[in-house]
Symmetry: C2
DNA sequence: GGTCAATATATAGACTGGCGATACATGCGT
DNA sequence: ACGCATGTATCGCCAGTCTATATATTGACC
């Protein structure tokens, strides 16, 4: 049984993706969802039931903060990175790069196998 | 709280890593564990409690098959890719590349282009 | 005026899967 | 004899994602 609508690679990268989208400015959830989907070329469809708990968690961990906009009929909760969140993002980004390189190296042997000296 | 000894990026990539290590030839679990750790430069430490259930699952899904080697005192269960598993691997590898590119594109917008003082 | 879809946030419950702990057995060095 | 590395395995915990559902507003279409 496939469990996710996205592929499972994303499982550990959602924090990173959300933080990176927020890096370009404050967003409310629904907007973030749209932008992430667009920025990923449709690859990432962050479900509401995934996103809101995720945002709540990121806020509890103080990587982001929120404030309600009640001025319009539609209640919107805007999120922005904290300073800590911004640091977190750059650090996570660097970490991700090295892990990606690691996987890439593993895959290189599969895609372009170097004949072993026997 | 950090939950894993590895970073969480790996969560969705373990199947891929295991398959790719098996692509270079049959391995038994313990050996696979060692080789993966070495091949990743120590980044990936696949725990036994993670690996064996994972191998059983991959076998149940018929991406890999196993046979016992009882000729030595130490019982070893050797795993090898099935044909389906090999196809799976190349397909997953391609998928992973596009997801990695996707993340890379997201991150490109936030990372300072100062990787090395030149 | 009524209905429907899109916008907007939220939670509950199911399910997956990695992890630490634990178990058990063998081989080897000392 | 003892301890450590080798080797496979399972269990319970729990973090985190998904589906389904709830609620409310707005705008379009009829």
């Amino acid at each position: 049984m496939k469990s996710s609508s996205n592929s499972d690679w994303m499982k550990g990268s959602l924090d990173l993706m959300v933080l990176s989208v927020l890096a370009s400015g404050s967003k409310y959830g629904y907007l973030l969802q749209q932008e992430l989907q667009q920025a990923s070329g449709g690859l990432v469809e962050l479900q509401a039931g995934t996103m809101y708990p995720l945002l709540h968690r990121l806020e509890a961990e103080e990587w982001i903060r929120s404030r309600w906009d009640e001025t319009t009929g539609r209640r919107r909760k805007w999120y922005e990175l904290t300073d800590a969140g911004r640091n977190r993002l750059t650090q996570q980004a660097r970490e991700w790069e090295s892990y990606a390189d690691c996987i890439r190296a593993l895959l290189a042997r599969v895609i372009d196998p170097v004949p072993r000296p026997a």
